[in-house]
Symmetry: C2
Subunit: 300 residues, 2 copies
C-alpha cells in the first residue's frame, strides 16, 4: 500500500505522519516550533525533520500544511502570525530541490478540513464545511471531495468576515472580524477589555465560564451571537450539508454548542436548516489532512 | 448547430430565447407575468408559452430559471416573493410529462450568473462571482465553468447574510440582512423610514441622489458601507477572480461604484485585492443564462 508523508506546521510544533489512504499509520514524529525562526532556519528545520522521518520509513509523496496567507500556485508562505519572522518563504521550491517526489501544499485550516473529510465520522459529504476554532478562526470547504481553494489558496478565510461593523480591532488590522469575537485571541482580548485581566489560554477562559464569572459569560455570549451570524453567512453562501467544528475551542462545545446551533437555525430559511447537520470533530492531527493532499488521483 | 430554449421567469414577465452555445439567437418572445397566478395558472401559462415558441422554431433542450427558494433535485419552486400565490410548484415534473426532452432548472440569480459567464465580456474566469442587484440582492458563483448550487440549489443567497446585527427587518423575516440596505426594496424602505415618503422604484431613488437629496444620499451611503461588508465576506470566503454587478441598480453604478470598490479593497488582505477585478455586466436576458443550463456536456 502506498505511503504518504503529511507535515503540519503549527505555532507550537511541526508534526509529521506517514499514512496510507485507508488511514493506516506507519510513523509519527514531531519537533518544537521556534517562534523566532527566520526563513532560513525554518527551511533548515523542516528539511532535517523530513530527513529524520526518511530514516524510519519510506513515502511516495509529501503533503504539507502551513499557516497562511499562502500563495498556493508558487508554494510560498507569505507570512504567519505565529512565526512572525517568516516572510515570503519559498517552501515548496526549496523542498522539491531536495526531495524529488510530488509535494503538495495548502494552508492549515484547509488541511484540517481535508483530514476531517477523509478520516472523520460520517463526514464524506457532498458538501462539508469545517470551522477550525483555535488561536484564530479558520475554515475549510470540501465540495464533491475536493478542497475549495480560491484562486491562490486563500478561500474560506471566514475569521475575517465582518460581524460587527466598526467593531473590535482584529490582528489583521481590520475592524469587527468574526475572529475578534469567537477565537482564543478574541475571547482573551474581549475579556481583557472588560476586566483588565490577561488570561493565558482558552482553558482559563472556559474555566471562568464554568465558574459563572459574569464577564466571561458575557464575552462568550457575544461571541456566540456574532459567530452565529458568521455561520449564517456561510450557510446562505455555501448551503453545506454538514458543518464540523475542530480545534481547541471545540473541546468546550458543551458550554456553547446548543445555544449556537439554536441561534443559527432560527436565522436561516427552513429549507436550509432541514438539510443541515452540525457536529464536533475528533482531534485529528493536521498532518493526516496534509497527507490527504496527496490522495488526489490515487485509487481507494 | 444545436438549439436550446432558455426560459426566465421574472416578477414582471416570462421571457424565452432559443439560442446556440455560440450565442446565435434564433427566436425570442415574452409574456406578462400575473402576480396573482395560482400554481395551476402558472403551469398552464408556462406550458402554453413553450408551445407558442415551438410553433416558431425547434430546440433540443429546455433550461428554466425561476425565483426561489427552489428545490433543485425535485424541480420544485418552494415559494416566490413576486408570485405570492405560488407554493411548492412541481414545475419540472409537470413540464417533463409534456415535453419529452432534457429540462434543466435553477434559480434566477444563478441563471443570470451563468449568462454572464458564457456571454459576458471577459467573464470566462476560473472563479466568477455575480451580484444581481434588483428588487432583492442575489448572487451566483461559477467555479471552473460550473454553477455552485449548494445542496438543493440555494447557495449564494447573499442578500440574507447579516451586515448589521439586529438591524432592519428584511422581507425574509430576519434582521440586518444585506438586502435590507442594498437593493431596490432596501433603498425604498430605508428612505421611507427617514422621510415617510414612498418612492416607487430605484430610478426615483437614484434621481434624488443625483439631486443631492440629503436623505437619499445617506441611505445610499449606508447601503454602500453595508454592501462593502457583504462583498468583503464573499471575497474572504470564495476568493473570486472577478466580481460582476448585474441588474437594475447596476445601471447607477457611477453613483456608488468607485466608493464601493475603494471600501472593499481597503478591507481585504492585499493578496486578495491584487487578484480581483470588478466590473458592471451588460444587460443579458436571464433567458440566455437559462439556456446556458443546457450547455453542460455539449461540445463548444
Amino acid at each position: 500500500m502506498k505511503k504518504f508523508l503529511g507535515i503540519d506546521v503549527g505555532g507550537g510544533s511541526v508534526k509529521g505522519t506517514v499514512i496510507s489512504k485507508t488511514g493506516k499509520i506507519y510513523f509519527q514524529s514531531s519537533i518544537k516550533t521556534n517562534p523566532i525562526w527566520t526563513n532560513e532556519e525554518f527551511l533548515e528545520n523542516i528539511k532535517n525533520f523530513i530527513f529524520e522521518i526518511k530514516k524510519n520509513t519510506t513515502f511516495e509523496k509529501i503533503g504539507i500544511g502551513t499557516p497562511g496567507p499562502i500563495d498556493l500556485d508558487s508554494g510560498v508562505i507569505l507570512k504567519s502570525a505565529n512565526l512572525p519572522n517568516l516572510k515570503n518563504v519559498n517552501l515548496i521550491s526549496f523542498l522539491k530541490e531536495i526531495f524529488p517526489i510530488p509535494i503538495y501544499f495548502n494552508n492549515d485550516s484547509n488541511v484540517a478540513s481535508l483530514g476531517e473529510y477523509f478520516f472523520g465520522i460520517d463526514s464524506k459529504k457532498k458538501s462539508l464545511f469545517v470551522f477550525t476554532l483555535g488561536t484564530g478562526l479558520g475554515g475549510g470547504f470540501i465540495f464533491n471531495g475536493k478542497l475549495y481553494n480560491g484562486i491562490k489558496g486563500n478561500g474560506m478565510e471566514v475569521g475575517h468576515m465582518s460581524v460587527i461593523p466598526n467593531g473590535a480591532i482584529c490582528g489583521c488590522g481590520q475592524k469587527g472580524c468574526a475572529e475578534s469575537y469567537f477565537s482564543t485571541s478574541g475571547f482573551l482580548n474581549r475579556y481583557f477589555e472588560a476586566t483588565n485581566i490577561k488570561l493565558q489560554n482558552a482553558k482559563e477562559f472556559f474555566d471562568l465560564v464554568i465558574l459563572n464569572d459574569k464577564d466571561a459569560k458575557e464575552v462568550l455570549e457575544l461571541g456566540v451571537e456574532t459567530f452565529s451570524e458568521c455561520i449564517r453567512a456561510i450557510i446562505y453562501i455555501l448551503n453545506p450539508e454538514k458543518i464540523v467544528f475542530l480545534g481547541g475551542i471545540s473541546k468546550s462545545y458543551s458550554l456553547f454548542g446548543k445555544s449556537l446551533e439554536e441561534k443559527v437555525r432560527s436565522k436561516i430559511f427552513p429549507v436550509l436548516s432541514e438539510n443541515l447537520i452540525f457536529a464536533v470533530g475528533e482531534d485529528f492531527a493536521g498532518s493526516l489532512g496534509s497527507a490527504a493532499l496527496c490522495f488526489e488521483g490515487e485509487d481507494d
